[in-house]
Symmetry: D3
Subunit: 162 residues, 6 copies
Amino acid sequence: MKYNSDEHIDDQMIKIEVSLDDMNPEFYGYLMEQLFKFGVNDVYIVQVIMKKNRPGQVLHVLCREEIREKVMDFIFQETTTLGIRYTPYTVHRLEREFIEVETEWGKCTVKIGKRAGKIVQFAPEYEDCMQLAKEHQVPLKWVYDQAKEKGYQWLNEQKLLE
Amino acid sequence: MKYNSDEHIDDQMIKIEVSLDDMNPEFYGYLMEQLFKFGVNDVYIVQVIMKKNRPGQVLHVLCREEIREKVMDFIFQETTTLGIRYTPYTVHRLEREFIEVETEWGKCTVKIGKRAGKIVQFAPEYEDCMQLAKEHQVPLKWVYDQAKEKGYQWLNEQKLLE
Amino acid sequence: MKYNSDEHIDDQMIKIEVSLDDMNPEFYGYLMEQLFKFGVNDVYIVQVIMKKNRPGQVLHVLCREEIREKVMDFIFQETTTLGIRYTPYTVHRLEREFIEVETEWGKCTVKIGKRAGKIVQFAPEYEDCMQLAKEHQVPLKWVYDQAKEKGYQWLNEQKLLE
Amino acid sequence: MKYNSDEHIDDQMIKIEVSLDDMNPEFYGYLMEQLFKFGVNDVYIVQVIMKKNRPGQVLHVLCREEIREKVMDFIFQETTTLGIRYTPYTVHRLEREFIEVETEWGKCTVKIGKRAGKIVQFAPEYEDCMQLAKEHQVPLKWVYDQAKEKGYQWLNEQKLLE
Amino acid sequence: MKYNSDEHIDDQMIKIEVSLDDMNPEFYGYLMEQLFKFGVNDVYIVQVIMKKNRPGQVLHVLCREEIREKVMDFIFQETTTLGIRYTPYTVHRLEREFIEVETEWGKCTVKIGKRAGKIVQFAPEYEDCMQLAKEHQVPLKWVYDQAKEKGYQWLNEQKLLE
Amino acid sequence: MKYNSDEHIDDQMIKIEVSLDDMNPEFYGYLMEQLFKFGVNDVYIVQVIMKKNRPGQVLHVLCREEIREKVMDFIFQETTTLGIRYTPYTVHRLEREFIEVETEWGKCTVKIGKRAGKIVQFAPEYEDCMQLAKEHQVPLKWVYDQAKEKGYQWLNEQKLLE
């Protein structure tokens, strides 16, 4: 497990931001993929308007302070930026639990999020649903919906939703 | 009045950010409407690019530290997120004052913003203009422009713009 | 005058679209500037999500059919694309007229748009307002608002707004 | 009923586009609301980058050819544009049907879409779900998910999903 | 080869557009991947603002008329839409040619685009560069730049750039 | 020189954010141009979705704490906002160096970025390339690519890339 699965507040998080206005857009796919390998928590790209009519990008990376240096080294190496900025964030994360449900096309993991012990989030795993959709040539949305439905049934049986 | 109408610097503000990549876009309208009822200062959505070609959203909520917990509870309840991040911001707010002007279609509030006692902002209230535009079947832009013009006349008479 | 200033419907317009996912964002400023020199009617950039997590751009150029070939040659030359697509559009353009108003900081052109002889649009020219704002060190918004106000006064005197 | 509820192909549709770079963003809410009253099929705003570093908007309106003139009149009246462009589109629309399901919080409409008589779409109505969520103070997502689940049960009972 | 590699003008292209305001953003990755398998020419997502404050998406698919029906069937099946619109486009495509260059880390394909027999485009293949970057643990940008440089050398030797 | 050209970490940076939902988009060009004159480090615009279906903008300005007050005064003066928020950021900036290369069309500056003495960034200056492209009527991309190539040759001769 890469993350603490209990509910917790993490005040050692860092948001890294990089303004990019001269990088080949093809590079972002590789960049995101590699950044997740470093164990960062989140990566996303905001398309912005920069000076001189440039359709720029701001890369946002959320990670723990302890890997910040390594992540920044990588960003300097792989992007075209001359400066990286960062600021601390606090993150409140829910308790996470995984259950497995049986759909008519096969097993699917469902991720559960709990706040103070109570279930508040509940979502089938995309990768599992996609695998089943591909194998059985059924619409992804049908698989996803059924996984969700089966999950609700399980929760009701366990009396976890009152 | 929900806010301090004098010019002030508020260093107890919090920016809450929530990365969402699996939520039905229909839910945002309700979410924003409800968040404003909690007394948050600002809410906006940034459309971003997340991993695996997902057109995600980052919800930004600006609020006072004292309501942060309540707001976060609501966000966990109404969105699909498993984590919420936040960081402190300082906000400099202008003195606000409201005057009423008379357009040819009826009364309209005009909001004034003052910096060190001097008027720097000056804008007709959208809701009033829209009401008059609807009732009198005139273009909203005509109503807005006239309300602004009448406001300037009042300011000139009061010798508030030198 | 580069354009027909009477109200008219132009059914010889072409919308050119170019999907770009590997071009340095710095190049767009030059590209737009040059495209306008060819006499195109409009140019804008839409930031989009392309395959493989690429923050791509779709360049949109609106021009008359008669200059399409020349414009496309230029786009092939200056961008990185291997294909350009286009489709016909019809454009309804209002009658345009320019008047000059006198603000307290100097003269400013105001553009008027007429539909069936009746004024429906009315806007100070940005470049003029900006020049006055720079020279007199006054907020651009003050200059713009006053130019608009003076324009309305002129229209009222001429009984052009009833 | 404002629309043909059988599956059909409509080759009399028009896409209207309006490039706006000098309009108060507050006006869009009113504009969209009013456009839907004219019976247009779809309205959306694309945020784009225009010349001179302007964060412009392109308003897209999809409507039937027979109301195009009326819609364009309204757009000239309510926006700041001097030109409106349009081009024909063909639309393939699914057969639509509405059923009503009973959730634990009350009734909710579910919209069904059929392709060649077979159900392919299936979605609870947002407005109904939102009403129930507000009245019963339950998360909107819970209501939406349950309405969907109940709908699936009904479809299964009717043997409409094989 | 899936496409005509000579320069040509294709007037049998179709742009398909789908407005989506209630679909899980996770589904787009799968959707795009599958659409390319059908042989469509381009797919991209435009993030837009829809009614009721919805951060919607417009999916754009460019394909040949002959596969339009199959593509639309798939879109109805995999997305949540009740209507798909389309309009014809003409596409001008350059002649394409592929050469292979030798970088210090290995071979890399370079794609060349020709207009009337003259080279106007010239770009290393992303997938090749990425492979080399991963294998040799060098920055992707270094690999890409060197592949481009080697390609220019080859072109100069062949006297293809005069 | 306006900035420290050695590699350094600057923990006195401030990110200023301004949410704007009622400003004429034409004003942003002037605003950005002027902000850079104050010596701010970066300015960019994020297009967002605000309440009531408003296509708003969030202006982001990165500057040193010591000019924050002056910059905020200017923003209050030139925009329509009633409140400006800010938060501290730390910025890690690379060592910067400029070399001059000789292309077949003339001289061009190339900017180099160094991390711990080692070259990691390397990019031709846009303004120089654009000037040469205009004067010699050659594609900007050709000029840019050649300037980069010449720079690499120089680095190799100096044995700066091992």
